[in-house]
């Protein structure tokens, strides 16, 4: 059992003070001797003056550095919650409950127990910095905090994709049938939109004249975003992370991405998904990150979420995912061994 004392009330009260963004930076201190204010102390004092971000040598608002979008806030508002913003006490309780849950030991002999211990490997969200928030969901539009319903066209496509998977055989029949993340191709943190990866949810942003680069720690994808006015790539150019074009609107970096390859469907979207991201530095240690998802072939309405990036410490560590991904071979070998056992049992049964 690995239960730790949890986030300081002080940090969440401070969060209330900066409610304009409804966002604070926090972490769950390990055995808490005395509650200390979390790094949220760096959040802008409520002076009423807007924050002015520093500038790069070539005059861009400076977003550079190491950031994390780790959070306990779910994408969609949980069932039974009707408010948009928790009180600090409610948010603290929600984080504590979630962190406790992550630190709980599993029951020996259950499928859930067949895993390494997250706490032992420092992978609990509570063991690293996370962007805490008083929001009850990352989704801010629709106002109910839920994704819009999938339309008929989207449902039809989902059924077709499921049928295609079924036709391809079992998930462990071949490497190609296994999930993309398990195969070390791409994971959800890269986006766009950049979603909290659960652990190793870290990014590095680097800017140079005319470009912004976003490096995702898990699993080491670099998005290169040109800032000139070049046209979007031809329709036939399709990539795992789509093709992005960026521009500055005041202090906000706006990035529009289309040309996805459709093999990594974000929440069931089609390959014609369009993601518009907005990065605005609101404090030395915070970037307000919002994204809007448009795909009329899946949802009748666009939807928008706010998933803040909190400053963290670098460097980004290498993610040589393929190098020790023995799991693929082991899983396939395990499936073949099970088939063999079943076949032998069936043979015995028929004798």
């Amino acid at each position: 059992m690995n239960r730790r004392s949890l986030v300081s009330i002080g940090a969440l009260v401070l969060g209330a003070a900066v409610l304009l963004s409804a966002t604070i930076v926090a972490q769950v201190p390990a055995p808490l001797a005395k509650p200390k204010p979390a790094p949220a102390a760096k959040a802008p004092a409520p002076t009423g003056k807007p924050y002015t971000p520093p500038k790069t040598p070539d005059g861009q608002p400076d977003l550079q550095g190491f950031w994390t979008n780790s959070t306990y806030v779910p994408l969609e508002r949980p069932q039974g919650v009707t408010k948009e913003i928790y009180t600090p006490a409610e948010a603290e309780a929600a984080i504590k409950a979630a962190a406790d849950r992550e630190a709980e030991q599993t029951e020996p002999g259950t499928t859930a127990d067949v895993h390494y211990d997250f706490s032992q490997f420092g992978l609990d969200r509570s063991q690293s910095k996370f962007a805490a928030s008083l929001r009850t969901s990352l989704i801010i539009d629709p106002p109910d905090g839920k994704m819009p319903p999938v339309n008929a066209q989207g449902q039809k496509r989902a059924a077709e994709r499921a049928a295609a998977r079924k036709q391809a055989g079992g998930q462990y029949d071949s490497v190609q049938n296994m999930p993309i993340g398990s195969r070390c191709i791409i994971m959800g943190g890269s986006g766009p939109p950049m979603m909290n990866a659960g652990y190793n949810a870290n990014y590095q942003i680097v800017q140079s004249p005319g470009y912004v680069m976003i490096l995702t720690e898990m699993i080491h994808d670099a998005r290169i975003i040109p800032l000139d006015t070049r046209p979007q790539a031809a329709q036939g150019v399709r990539q795992w992370v789509g093709v992005s074009r960026g521009r500055w609107e005041g202090n906000t970096l706006v990035v529009e991405t289309t040309n996805f390859n459709g093999k990594n469907a974000f929440r069931g979207a089609s390959e014609n998904l369009k993601v518009t991201e907005r990065f605005t530095r609101t404090a030395d240690d915070m970037i307000d990150y919002k994204f809007t998802v448009e795909d009329p072939a899946t949802w009748d309405k666009a939807w928008t979420a706010e998933a803040p990036l909190a400053k963290t410490e670098g460097p980004i560590f290498e993610f040589a995912c393929h190098e020790t991904n023995y799991g693929i071979a082991n899983i396939l070998a395990g499936a073949r061994a099970e088939e063999k056992t079943k076949a032998e049992q069936a043979k015995k049964g028929s004798n």
Binding site: A94, R101, Y116
Partner: protein, 137 residues
């Protein structure tokens, strides 16, 4: 009272939302829940590479024969960030590993728990034995 109820409902809902296992691949497909094991041995190599650590452990069988087992653990990134290095768990460290054996019957297992000779677990709460004190960031 009502406020308390709201918090309880909110907590329950959040639990449901975040309760799912977070893993790079399906461990229950790789290792057999019906083959729990406890191994005692000494560390001969630690592949500290993402997405998963692999610990090579020399295990002495009852007949004196030594076999090499491969034990799968978690991503090293966060450990490194907390100051854990290969020197933190030096070669030769005696480990007791509680886990589950690979479905294919090979000398491979997932390390559910890594226990040191003094009974403490490795890395728990970031307090890696013998390593740089894990500064809480």
């Amino acid at each position: 009272m009502r406020a308390k109820l709201v918090v309880v409902i909110a907590c329950a809902a959040v639990l449901l939302a975040v309760g799912q296992a977070r893993a790079h691949h399906a461990f229950a497909a790789e290792f057999d829940v019906n083959k729990p094991l406890t191994l005692k041995g000494s560390l001969i190599k630690w592949e500290m590479v993402n997405p998963h650590s692999w610990f090579h452990v020399a295990v002495k069988e009852p007949d004196g024969k030594v076999t090499e087992w491969l034990i799968e653990g978690g991503s090293p990134n966060q450990l490194i960030r907390m100051g854990v290095t290969k020197n933190t768990v030096p070669i030769g460290t005696e480990l007791t590993i509680e886990g589950y054996r690979a479905k294919d019957g090979g000398l491979k297992a997932v390390g559910r728990n890594f226990v040191l000779p003094d009974g403490s677990r490795l890395f728990l709460g970031g307090s890696a034995p013998g390593g740089t004190p894990a500064e809480k960031k």
